[in-house]
Structure formats: structure tokens, C-alpha cells
């Protein structure tokens, strides 16, 4: 059947027309979202990548910005890019790896109605609703003032603040980000787990499944789509993740701590008109890298993920 014949069939059948309308309405929302919030917002940014600012206005320069940016990244005389990429990937592995594992553990704990489950649910989500600046101040005070003072007073041990001490700075920043990422993940995963039917769980328990087997063979397969979504979003967000460095240090974080997201954000905040094309080019190049990575990973996870059948 040719495409035109298929379309004709669809339009002639009332039920098919209804199905088509339903499909169109469902798909319209995400398409509109992409059109408005990606292309609409970024179209100027995409065009800027091919322009330069001179004499008070922007002019087309073809791929000059790409050449300049790629030369900057690959020669990297300041070593900033190398550190930024390294930190970005390490941060993703650490924060996603540890963060997701702990989020799964706590979500399962809540799902199994462990002691104080509601308390944990609220407390773990709390950082997500409190201003990040407040959380950064509290965290900084705790690790940089409280802990050294506590150790000095009760153990007569002098240490530097854990955030100030270069040996522990990065570890503290990872720790903070793991803690901050926790709440949303726990909320999403525990909500997904709550949809696992009681009868399935009871059946598994009657078959002698312990908690671990129940988690691995029953719960995880059923929440896997949610897990994949969270995981994929973290990949898509890879180059935007600035590890909350701007909340900790403003534009003044040490270069060796920076991530790609932080570097880009910091430059954008202080950029003058002539610097936007270069920043837009960096953004576009990073998008070109991240799109296939995200889509590929999603396909891969869908293929290898556990089945709930």
C-alpha cells in the first residue's frame, strides 16, 4: 500500500480519523515545546555561531568561529579545557553512579515502608526546595567551620576547612552535588515504585523472594523506564552541569575545579557583545557532541535493560 493510499484510508475511516487526531494532539505538545523552547530560544544563538561583532553590529563570517574555538580547545594553552572536560566526566560518573545507587536504595527503603520512610522522603527532598544559595552557605559552614572546630574542641586535632583544603575540596563538591541530586531522584523513583502492584510483590514473596531478589527481579524491571529517563537526562545535562560551583565561588572558582558547564556559564556572565558568537559556537559544538551520545545511550539502555515480563 502506497503512502497516499494509506493516508486516504485513514481520512475515510472515522475511527482512524479520531485516532489520528488523538495522535496529533499528543505529539503536538512535545513538538511545540521543542519548537518554542529549543529552536525558538536557541535560533539566535545558532545563528550567532556564524557571525562576529564588529563596529556595533553582527556580520556573517561563516565557520571562522568554529575554527577559532576548536583551535582554542585543542591547543588549550591554559589547560582549562582539559581540566573542564576531565572534571565534567568524573563528576558525572561519581554523582550519577553514587547518586543513582543511593537514590535506588532509599527509594526501595521507602517502598518497603521502612522506619521513618516519610521523614526520609521529606528530608531528602528538602534540599531541592530550599534555595541553593542557602544550602551552599549551610554546607560551607558545616564542612569549613563546624567540623574543624568540633575536631579541635573535642579531639584537639587541627584541620583546615574541608572545602578550603585543596586535598578535600573536590570531594566536598562531589558530596554536595550527590546530596543535592538525591531528592528529585528519590521522589521520581519512589513514585515509580509505588506503581508496582501489591499482588506482584506478594506473589514474589510467596515464591520465596527475599528483598534483594524482589528488588532485582520485580521492582527494578518495572521502574526501569523511569530509571532510564533519569539517567538519560543526566547525560543530556552533561555539559551544562556546573557542579554548583557558581553558588560556591561565583565567577571565582579555581580553574582546576571547573567543569565545561561552569566555564561556559562564567564566560557568558561576563561576556561583552563581541564574545557571544564564540560562546554560541562552543554551545553548538557541545550540542553536536551530546545529541548522538544521549540518543545512542538511550537506545542501548532500552536494548540491554531488564524486561518486566
Amino acid at each position: 500500500m502506497t503512502l497516499s493510499t494509506r493516508v486516504k484510508t485513514l481520512l475515510h475511516s472515522k475511527s482512524e480519523r479520531k485516532r489520528l487526531l488523538f495522535y496529533a494532539l499528543v505529539i503536538a505538545l512535545p513538538l511545540a515545546q521543542v519548537a518554542i523552547f529549543y529552536f525558538g530560544v536557541n535560533i539566535n544563538s545558532i545563528l550567532l555561531a556564524f557571525k562576529e561583532y564588529e563596529g556595533g553590529s553582527y556580520h556573517w563570517v561563516g565557520f571562522d568561529n568554529f575554527k577559532r574555538v576548536l583551535t582554542e580547545i585543542f591547543t588549550d594553552s591554559t589547560a582549562e579545557w582539559r581540566f573542564a572536560f576531565k572534571n565534567t566526566f568524573v563528576a558525572w560518573i561519581v554523582c550519577t553512579g553514587i547518586g543513582m545507587t543511593l537514590a535506588l536504595f532509599f527509594s526501595y527503603y521507602i517502598f518497603k515502608k521502612g522506619i521513618g520512610k516519610n521523614f526520609f522522603r521529606v528530608m531528602l527532598f528538602m534540599p531541592s526546595i530550599i534555595s541553593s544559595i542557602v544550602m551552599v552557605i549551610l554546607f560551607t559552614y558545616f564542612v569549613d567551620s563546624f567540623i574543624p572546630e568540633f575536631l579541635m574542641r573535642y579531639f584537639d586535632t587541627e584541620i583546615r576547612g574541608l572545602l578550603s583544603d585543596p586535598r578535600t575540596t573536590m570531594f566536598m563538591i562531589y558530596l554536595y552535588n550527590i546530596l543535592m541530586g538525591f531528592g528529585t531522584n528519590v521522589l521520581l523513583l519512589s513514585s515509580a515504585m509505588s506503581s508496582v502492584s501489591d499482588s506482584t510483590v506478594e506473589a514474589a514473596q510467596l515464591d520465596g523472594a527475599n528483598n534483594l531478589r524482589l528488588f532485582w527481579h520485580v521492582v527494578l524491571p518495572q521502574i526501569f523506564p523511569t530509571f532510564v529517563t533519569i539517567f538519560i537526562v543526566s547525560v543530556a545535562n552533561l555539559f551544562a552541569n556546573q557542579l554548583n560551583l557558581y553558588s560556591f565561588y561565583g565567577a571565582y572558582a579555581e580553574a582546576r575545579l571547573g567543569t565545561v558547564g561552569y566555564l561556559l556559564y562564567k564566560r557568558t556572565v561576563s561576556a561583552a557583545n563581541a564574545q557571544y558568537p564564540e560562546l554560541a559556537t562552543i554551545g553548538l559544538l557541545l550540542t553536536i557532541v551530546i545529541i548522538p551520545l544521549t540518543l545512542g545511550l538511550r537506545k542501548f539502555l532500552e536494548k540491554v535493560g531488564p524486561s518486566d515480563e
Binding site: 561583532y53 591547543t75 594553552s77 521523614f119 521529606v122 530550599i130
Partner: protein
Amino acid sequence: MKKKLLTIVIACLLAVMAVFSACSPSTEKPGSGGSDDEFGLATTIDPNRTTLFVSNFNGGFGERWLKAAIKRFEELHKNDVYEEGKTGVQVWIDNSKTGGKDTLANIENSRDAVFFTEYVYASDYADSGKVLDLSSIVNPVLSEYGESRSIKGKMTKEQQDYFIQDNGACYVLPHYQSFRGIVYDVDLFEDENYLFYFSANANNGNDGFVMSKNETRSKGPDGTGGTYDDGLPATYDEFFRLCEYMLEKGVKPVIWSGSNQAYFTDFLAALALDHEGLSDAMLNFTFKGTAYNLVSSVGANGELSFMNDGAEGSGVAITPNNGYLLAKQAGKYYSLQFAERLLKKEYIASGSMGTLSHTDAQKNYINSYPSGGEAIGMLIEGSFWENECSDMGYFDAAVKSYGQEWSRADRRFAMMPYPKATAGQVGEKVTLTDSLMSGAFIRGNVEGYEKELALDFLQFLYTDESLREFTQYTGSPKAMNYDIDGVEGISNFARSVFDMKNRADIVYPYSSEPIYADQPASFEPTSFYSTVVNKGAGDVPYTYPSRAIYDQGVTGLEYFNGLSVAMSKSSWDNAYGKYFINN
């Protein structure tokens, strides 16, 4: 159910607390909330007077200076009609913390007509078409205020070059001035138990430090006796002798903000530019002229050899083509040597390499002497610190804790002139660097009476009386040429800043050259210190000398050599090739 309800209530309470804790008191408007406004300004908008909305960056300089000026302006125009049906004017302050870039992005829809803020890139403002040309108030002599100079006439040549366009238009006026430097506590220095001044007699039996207040002091960095800097360290060597002497006397030499190392880096940049002098310093922003202090090599004992174009002392011509050579300026080398010598645990107060905020550093500094604990001799800060510290209520708190004699009015602080890197430079003029790039401007789409009123108000703020009043309230200079002779109520600290300013060349770290105007943030003095150091584990980037030297054991020389690696010829060519000029 009860538990669930309790959980929800706790969550809501915490959320509300978080929302309130995130609110900044700086957005408080005059009089809102039952004002106790000390200037008697109206607390609500008066419908019978013409209102002018003014946006003020409420940082270290606060808003009292603006309120004082508004009081006089409203009085001056109380019978004038700007708007039909209304007599008199009311100026309403909207305090904010919005910097120049974000202000410009949203300016067209703002209710404010006049703006004062920081980090204003004048060229972007000029290109934007969103701000008003101020030439009608900048060029005329302010004769209606009994003055013989125009606003333009109060600017330096460098300021005129930057702020006034080739066609005579002017879109931004320089606002306040901030110098980074070393603050010292005069009362502590003159305390009979300490006496931290150098004697005119280096062999006086007290390691060269005065033994009584009346002993004649050394000539200081200006090399002239009987001046404001007598007894203060003239060279880096003397500065570190002073630090050692302070330690002997149980005084911690220095404190600064640990959470924002840009404060310390800005100070090093100021030290570097002081060494270079105005002409060589400006090369970092104009890339046009001759550099006389470019280091070609550093000997084993720290002796420097300099680059030249062939003839001894001829220097090197700097253009946009070879701006990377400025990473070799001797001032940068010496400032890093200074940092290496200072960044020792025993010299610096707790928190300076930690997360101590700049305001906490100010508080710890002013409290250290009266508290009877370990006093702190010096504070590395901006010239606005005293006003900021006062606005934070720290002086009032000190009075409550230690007595009336520790009030702001009764204490004497001063800005220490930069010590010189070598004895040979003692006597050279001080070069100060203005560090905040603040500006004043008017929204471009003001019309009719609002435009007239906005221009009148801005012009009024640049009269000599307003400039002096600004200093009176903030303890800091406005970025204009004026004097404060005979002005009452100016603190010892503010006078010391003026004393130094009057004897100094001032570097305004900007220029109208395209290479600068297109990327001003890349050439900020703080960015002088982006380096790469390889200590065996590959290239590591550093932005702040303090962190690299104190935390990572990098030497001043390693840091200096890395500046040229980070700003290599190839990276410079790639970044700025389009600005190259044909020889």
C-alpha cells in the same frame, strides 16, 4: 494522617524560611515599612510631585550618599514644575545588586531612569542604543552651580578617551572609585606597646623601628620626609621586616577575604601596575605604546634581564599583534614574589586561605585590636571597606562590645602606599588602579519631563559639592578630579586615600581600542594571573596566585613563567588575530 499533616506543615515552614532567608535586605526602599530615614525623605510616593526613579547598586558604597544628594536636590527643585500639574520633585531609590551587563539587557522596560552600577562596559552601552547621550550635561561648564569646570573637565585624559566617543557623544559617566590596597590600623601602629613605624635612624638599636611616638620616622615609599607615608615600609623587604616585627610583638600581620581570592589577586595586580607606572600599565588595555619592563630572563639570584628592540633601554613596541608579551611585565614578576613571601601560615590570619567572607574579614580586623586577643595589623581590601563595614553594623557592634572609643568616628585607619619592589624605586610616584569599572547612565527611552529631570539630577551629582558629599558619606573618592579641602566629617581612612590619590597617577583599566572594547572581561587586572604550572604531573591551570602558592607550593617564579605559557603567542594569535595591525 496526623503524621502526614505534620510532615507537610514542617515542609511548608522550611520552604517559607528558605524563601525569606533568600530575600536580600538591599531591596528595601526608603521608608518602606515604617522608615526611620535619617534624611527625612518621604516614605511613600508623593502624587503631587514629579517622581524620578533611580537604580542604585547597593554594595560596598551603600545608599546614604545618594539619599543625602537627593535631599539637597529635592530642596533645590521644590518649587520647580517638570510635569504639568505637579510642583517639586521626588527621587525614589530602587536598590539592586544588578551589574552592568544584566542592567543593560533589561533597561528598556525598567521604571528607573537613572542607574548607578558596577562592571559597566561603556562600549557595549554606546553600541546598544539603549542609553541616553549625556553630552548635553557633560560638556557645558557647571556655571549654574558656581563652578568653572564641566563634568568632562573633571575627567582624566584616559577617561575622556574611553567614555567620550569620537562624535562627542557620552553614554556613561564614571561613578565611584575603588583602589585595592593594604589598610593599616593607625591606632595600633601608634600604640606604645607596638610602634610599628620605621625610624629615620636604621641603627637605632630597635631593629630600625621607632622606640617612641616622637622619634623621627623613615621617609616611606615616597622618599620624602614630613609626608603622609613617613615610617611606613618603603620596600618589599621592609614590609616583610614589619611582618616579622609584628609577629615578635604578638600581632598577626595580615588578613583578607578567603572566600573570594579575587580580592587578593586584584591587590597583586594593583601592586604590579604600581611597579609599571601609568604608561606601561595602560598597555595592558590599549596595546599601543612601548613597554620598558618586559623580563627576558630571571637570574639565579632573582636579577632580571629585560627585552628591548636592540638598543639598551629602548623597550619593546607593543601592538595588538604582540600583546602576549605583556605577561612578561616585571611588575607581575615582583607582585608574585611579594605573594610568595607573604603567603606563609604565620603571617596570615585564620580564614584568609579558607572561606572567610570579605565582610567577616573586615569584622575580624576591626575587632582584633580592641578584643585584647591577637591583634591583626593589616587588611587587604578595597578603599570602600570602611563604609561597607559600617553599613554592616560592625563598628556599632564593636562599640557595644568594647566601648565608645571604638566607634568608626573615633578610630583611625589608613591606606598604606604600596611598598616598592626595589630600593631603587623608592621615591617614584604611586600608581593606583581603579578596580570596579562603575558607571552612571540614563535609560535611552526616557522622554519629556522625565528626560529633563534625569539629566538635571545626574548633572547635579557631578557638582563639586555632590562629589565631596559622596566622599563624606562613603569614605571613598568618586572617579573624578576634585578635592576635599575643608570638608568636615571625613574619616582618617578617607583622607589617607585622598592623600595617596592626590599624589598618584591613576590607571583606569579600560580603553577604546577595539581589542579591549570587544572583550573587556578578558583584560581585567584579575585575569593577568591565569597561569599554567607543571610540577611533574602535567600542566595544571591556576587563576589565583594565593591558592597556587599557599596550597600547591608553586613558587612565584614558576607562576610567573606560566603566565607566558597560558598566554602563548599561538593562543594569542588564535584569539586576537583579527585585531592585528599591518606594520
